[in-house]
């Protein structure tokens, strides 16, 4: 059963007053996601619930698996048939998914993993807000691997970034994580879904070679190998494996095959940072104080900025929309010109280490941290600035 309703505005765009989770599900559907596998967990369950109802209306399929490991496996399997896929979870479930997220990295399988953060570790505070998984999104699975992570600060932005994340995963043949938090997941705001033509949907590039010449991970066309689905009907028959593999997907331990492979899967992301990294800046031109945040705390920072400026405190805000890869260049530029930098996080201090690394000795960097499961207020931020 759905607890919201979408309408059409005068331009024919779908609009509604919805939760972040509902916005994510609707945007995924609009962006062409046709398979969801998941396992219920607060505060992410609404995404599954909406898609259980809506996917089969649009020719898609939904399945509630026996656990999150299975759900992650299922979306990879479905993505290998060419379908755009999504799974959604929270802390404990995100921990369980890690091994198979690595599998998706290793085999360059496009898919979207939504992690609605709640306070941890372990079962933690299941219904309360946190941003404690930001390092886990980067390094949760074992081994070196690139990953792209977006974090929305509003319901509208959740819809936008869901579409962006799906496009990125298709374009670069990579799993992408949408890092939400309990606040954005459950708050209600207006969304307007773009028309299909406005979304500029990207579909993974297909192969054009003769079947005998097909390779699962063909590097002849650039760093992102063309993708062919299982059941392609073109006679492309190929293997994939979580083992290190050569271009044909066959296991290898040859240094001259392993190293170029590892380098390439990193290069395909790190050579395209201008396309992948998104940030927003407010009043950073004249700021004496810079607040750096991601996710819903950005909204609090904006509140603190408004209040502070009225009192004469020149505050600027940097939102890390793309959390990973980290916006090194932007942080380095701002750290050179703004002396006082505060990194606001609902955890004990995770992304602050990246800020310090990128600032490379410039600016005085301090953390404003909250980890009691309660949202931070503008006044709490302002007390740190005096």
């Amino acid at each position: 059963m759905l607890f919201y309703k979408l309408y059409k505005d005068k331009d024919g765009r779908k609009v509604g007053f919805v939760q972040g989770n509902e916005a994510c599900a609707e945007a995924a559907l609009a962006a062409g996601v046709r398979f969801f596998a998941g396992y219920p967990i607060t505060p992410s369950s609404e995404i599954a619930q909406v898609l259980a109802e809506k996917l089969p209306m649009y020719g898609g399929r939904f399945i509630q698996m026996e656990d999150e490991i299975a759900a992650m496996a299922a979306i990879i399997g479905a993505s290998m048939t060419g379908v755009k896929t999504l799974t959604a979870t929270s802390g404990p479930g995100f921990s369980l998914k890690q091994e198979n997220i690595g599998y998706a990295c290793m085999n360059e399988v496009p898919c979207l993993i939504v992690n609605v953060q709640r306070a941890g570790p372990s079962t933690g505070l299941p219904t309360q807000v946190s941003q404690g998984d930001v390092m886990q999104t980067r390094w949760g699975t074992h081994g070196d691997h690139p990953i792209v992570v977006y974090s929305p600060c509003s319901v509208e932005e959740t819809a936008e970034l869901t579409i962006t994340a799906i496009n990125t995963s298709e374009k670069y043949r990579t799993p992408v994580i949408l890092l939400m938090d309990e606040t954005v997941a459950h708050m209600r705001e207006k969304i307007t879904l773009p028309h299909e033509s406005e979304m500029k949907l990207f579909n993974r590039t297909r192969a054009t070679v003769e079947p005998s010449d097909f390779r699962s991970f063909d590097t002849r066309f650039g760093d992102v190998p063309p993708f062919e689905p299982y059941g392609n009907e073109k006679g492309y028959r190929f293997h994939i494996t979580g083992l290190n593999h050569d271009e044909n997907g066959f296991p290898t331990s040859r240094q001259d095959e392993v190293v170029p492979y590892m380098d390439r899967i990193h290069r395909k992301i790190y050579n395209n940072l201008d396309d992948i990294i998104k940030v927003k800046e407010w009043n950073t031109d004249d700021a004496d104080f810079l607040l750096i945040a991601f996710g819903t705390t950005v909204r609090t920072c904006l509140g603190a900025m408004e209040k502070g400026r009225k009192k004469g405190l020149k505050i600027g805000v940097l939102q890390l929309i793309t959390v990973w890869p980290f916006a090194d260049k932007v942080v380095a530029r701002l750290a050179k010109k703004i002396e006082n930098i505060f990194v606001v996080e609902l955890n004990m201090g995770q992304i602050i280490n990246e800020v310090s690394r990128a600032a490379a000795g410039h600016g005085k960097i301090k953390g404003i941290n909250k980890y009691d499961g309660v949202f931070i207020t503008p006044d709490e931020i302002l007390t740190h600035l005096k």
């Binding site: 479905a78 005998s212 299982y230």
Partner: protein, 280 residues
Amino acid sequence: MMEDIVHQYLRPKKKFPHVWCPGCGDGVVMNSLIRAIHSLKISRDNIVMVSGIGCSSRAPVYFDFCSLHSTHGRALPFATGVKLGNPKLTVIVISGDGDATAIGGNHFIHACRRNIDLKMVLINNNIYGMTGGQYSPTMPTGAYAATAPYGNIDRPFDICKLAVAAGANYVARSTAFHTFQIEKYFKEAIMKPGFAVIEAMTACPSLYSFYNKTGKGTDMMKALKDRAISIESAANMSPEDLKEKIVTGIFANGDAKPYTVAYQELMERAERSRVDEESI
């Protein structure tokens, strides 16, 4: 002389030799599976082979189908995604006893329960081959393993009974020795709508034998022959007499509605209930 079919199905580009030890039963079982696929005349382009991790799970890399060598224990959920992504595909799952009933045990019972249309070849050598001979959930009590130096005190699963109890549509057991019988079961399983599992009892002459002195590959093959007894004959035997036996035959052959069919019906219902957004 049997027609050489398996070579027609080897991947043209794969670098051989394969990973299996001399005398290993895995290749023999795969040969029967390929013969079954061949005789059913299923297009190679319509088959996807999905496996977990283990010696047995290495099989798909050698055969000329689309294939997915997944993570340990997770072949079934990966395969579930493949099947739901494109229900027209014939999805065959290859898994070892450890892969399917230890780390993947939960997925196994749920695949049986859902009756999802996957064809599972469960290769049971009663041990963890790939990792060096540790005990598996099907190792007999009292047998020895790298991690059971005093003899195994665990009790083994009866995989077929487990699958039947969990609701699988088609369940059968045979051995690597009984190549024709198992080929027949493979054919029936592939034709059967819903979830089908064939437990293929096999021999690990490298590690099981190392710890249990069961002889060479040929000795272990002979033991499979000697220990096998049909489900019909077994019905009249005492548990004591059955202790060393391998009961072979068909344990379930039902007609429960396959998952993909049930989901197709659901989609039709859902599509009918779809309403367009009102204008404001």
